[in-house]
């Protein structure tokens, strides 16, 4: 991993949910910080215990310095700085609007709009956009050498990659212009519209909902330039040569297919695919194809236990073969010859010990 991350400033960890993405992102950040870099890891909804272990405050929406003392006892000496934060999507969006609004009135209009308040957190894709928006802001702050982003647990990683484009597309497209033109929908909605579309809409929605929608889109329009600039900045950042994407997966069917899809998508979009991490892998442990029950009985002095061990061994072999096949499939389909393989750990990995264990595999020489 060291070689793959050489000279990189932005490391984006992508993959499906439930594959250990958060822990891997944190372990990557810790490894880079241990080697002297000032690193911030931005994570979404991490396991409570991991957050507690790192001392990350749930509130604040800003990176917190992880006390190096927390890691020393686990054999990790941080020569640089490790910062960690938990992203609050709604708050990031609020902050973005505060920053981009041309004046206080437009700001308050958006923030107090009932549509914005009640529904903004439900928008699919807003978490993707806010994550990259936060990344952009941290990048511009100049306080960190490397930023590691644990992407939202979106089932379709594509949403994440497309987020800036979709937003720009929406803002530059006909949609907003239609709403925002002096005689556009927003004006008609809040004004005295008489068009057919408007009157049909009014019949369906009632005037209140339409009013709120009109105000929502109109006030969003006031933020247009700022949004466009921000989205362009984010897009440039994602395509920068010092940005790299690490795809994380487990050997299970669905995450593997997502990883292959995402690696292909990165190549198509001209984004840098920096490597593949396969978590939760069951390695073949060099034993015989089938357990020797007689030998086990002799060694354990218990025929019943020996039979159970033989069954557990057979299941382990089944998993190992499944995982080996998944790894070959991944190699073939992503063109990544040398994925980093991390074995399934026995316990849960959402604490500092788990972090250190993953770190050892990521940064093995």
């Amino acid at each position: 991993m060291r070689a793959r991350l050489e000279g990189k400033r932005i490391v984006i960890c992508a993959g499906s949910g439930g594959v250990g993405k958060t822990t891997t992102s944190a372990a990557l950040a810790m490894g880079l910080a241990a080697e002297g870099a000032r690193v911030a890891v931005v994570t979404i909804d991490p396991a409570r215990r991991l957050a507690d272990a790192l001392g990350v405050d749930e509130l604040g929406n800003e990176p917190h310095l992880v006390d190096p003392e927390r890691l020393v006892g686990h054999g990790i000496e941080v020569r640089g700085e490790l910062w960690a934060m938990m992203l609050d999507a709604k708050r990031t969006f609020d902050e973005l609007i505060e920053r981009l609004a041309p004046d206080e009135r437009s700001r308050d209009e958006v923030l107090s709009n009932r549509i914005y308040q009640q529904l903004s957190s439900a928008v699919a894709g807003s978490q993707e956009f806010t994550a990259v928006a936060k990344l952009y802001e941290l990048d511009r702050s100049g306080l960190y050498d490397v930023l590691v982003l644990d992407t939202p647990p979106s089932r379709n990683a594509l949403d994440f990659l497309d987020a800036p484009d979709r937003l720009t597309g929406f803002l530059e497209g006909r949609a907003l212009r239609v709403f925002l033109a002096p005689t556009g929908l927003a004006a008609r909605v809040v004004g005295r519209g008489t068009g057919v579309v408007f009157s049909v809409l009014k019949r369906l929605t009632g005037v209140d909902l339409l009013d709120d929608l009109g105000v929502f889109f109109r006030s969003l329009g006031g933020l247009l330039e700022g949004f466009k600039e921000r989205a362009a900045g984010v897009k440039a950042l994602l395509a920068d040569e010092r940005t790299t994407f690490i795809v994380i997966t487990s050997p299970e069917h669905e995450p593997v297919e997502e990883a292959i899809f995402f690696a292909g998508k990165l190549r198509d979009a001209g984004m840098p695919f920096g490597g593949l991490v396969v978590n939760r892998f069951h390695p073949l442990d060099g034993g015989p194809p089938e357990a020797d029950v007689d030998a086990l009985t002799a060694a354990l002095g218990d025929a019943k236990l020996a039979a159970k061990v033989a069954r557990a061994y057979a299941e382990e072999r089944t998993l190992a073969q499944r995982d080996q096949a998944a790894l070959e499939h991944l190699r073939r389909e992503t063109g990544e010859d040398d994925p980093i393989v991390i074995p399934q750990l026995d316990g849960d990995v959402h604490d500092v010990d788990g972090l250190v264990a993953i770190h050892r595999y990521l940064f093995a020489d």
């Binding site: 949910g17 914005y116 529904l119 929605t205 209140d208 034993g287 557990a312 089944t318």
Partner: protein
């Protein structure tokens, strides 16, 4: 029946297995998912564009929110007006950009599928609709959309319909939310968070929690100790790993059982073979 859970917990397979169990019990059942994915139809071997019978009594349908909008307009408005709106680009932009619209259309379609007197011309009624909910936001976004729209609109047709749909999804006699989790720390946390969010935003408690992928717990404490002291070989190492993982899962299952306000059923990890049939049989037994 709304089946929820974050990615990677086997939600789709459990939704399909629940559908299979219901159909085998003689209920005319449909498993619905939200379009853009065809996981259920892949699991069950179907296409998903139309309501389609995949096995005796078991149907499948893929909800396409855009198509749902067209159907809604046709249903609600005189033919001329519906066409005006459906072909209006302004309207389609507005609909696409309205936060929560996708969720509202999804749950609206589920409501329609669940009616005895279907709005879709010529369509038959179902005894049970199983929704494989989108993983984003635990599926709470889908369930709370009707209430939110009803509150924002206050009066008018959408407010009225929002309230009607909300009355169905927040009624424990008609709607059950099934949370699927793996017996691991994060999925258990997420399930407990879902339980609170569901109560706060929809006023509903979970109907059932499914702990999916339980590894066999094979060794007694005494046997585990014997394994620790046993001579080291690949077989013994595999057994020790298996025991440690099963024990960690059991600890998470206990935590889940302690804090969940619903019954927790378990499903075994399926090492190979026909997952779906095996899980359906296990569910049948657990229920």
């Amino acid at each position: 029946m709304v089946v929820t859970g974050k990615g990677g917990v086997g939600k789709t397979t459990v939704a399909a297995a629940l559908g299979l169990v219901a159909a085998r019990r003689g209920l005319r059942t449909i498993v619905a998912e939200v379009a853009r994915r065809d996981d259920v139809s892949r699991a069950l071997g179907g296409e998903g564009i139309q309501e389609e019978e995949l096995a005796p009594g078991l149907h499948h349908f893929s909800i396409d929110p855009e198509r749902a909008m067209e159907l809604y307009l046709t249903d609600q408005l005189p033919p001329g007006l519906a066409d005006v709106l459906a072909s209006s680009r302004t309207f389609s932009y507005l609909a696409a950009a309205t936060p929560g619209m996708r969720e509202l259309l999804t749950v609206g379609r589920v409501w329609e599928l669940a009616q005895d007197d279907r709005r879709t011309p010529g369509a038959h009624a179902y005894d049970l609709v199983v929704l494989d909910a989108p993983a984003t936001g635990h599926g709470v976004a889908v369930l709370s959309a009707p209430r939110t729209f009803a509150q924002v609109a206050r009066v008018g047709r959408i407010a009225r319909q929002g309230r009607t749909i909300d009355a169905m999804v927040s009624d424990p006699a008609r709607t059950a939310v099934v949370a699927v989790a793996r017996p691991e720390e994060m999925p258990v946390n997420e399930t407990l968070a879902l339980q609170d969010a569901l109560r706060a935003e929809v006023g509903l408690d979970l109907g059932l929690v499914v702990a999916n992928g339980m590894l066999p717990q094979r060794f007694s404490a005494a046997e585990a100790r014997a394994l620790e002291g046993a001579p080291d070989c690949a077989e013994v190492r595999a057994a020790r790993h298996a025991h440690a993982r099963a024990a960690a899962q059991r600890a998470q299952l206990r935590r889940l059982r302690r804090r969940a306000r619903a019954r927790v059923a378990t499903l075994p990890f399926v090492f190979d073979g026909d997952h779906l049939d095996r899980l359906a049989r296990e569910l049948e037994r657990a229920l």
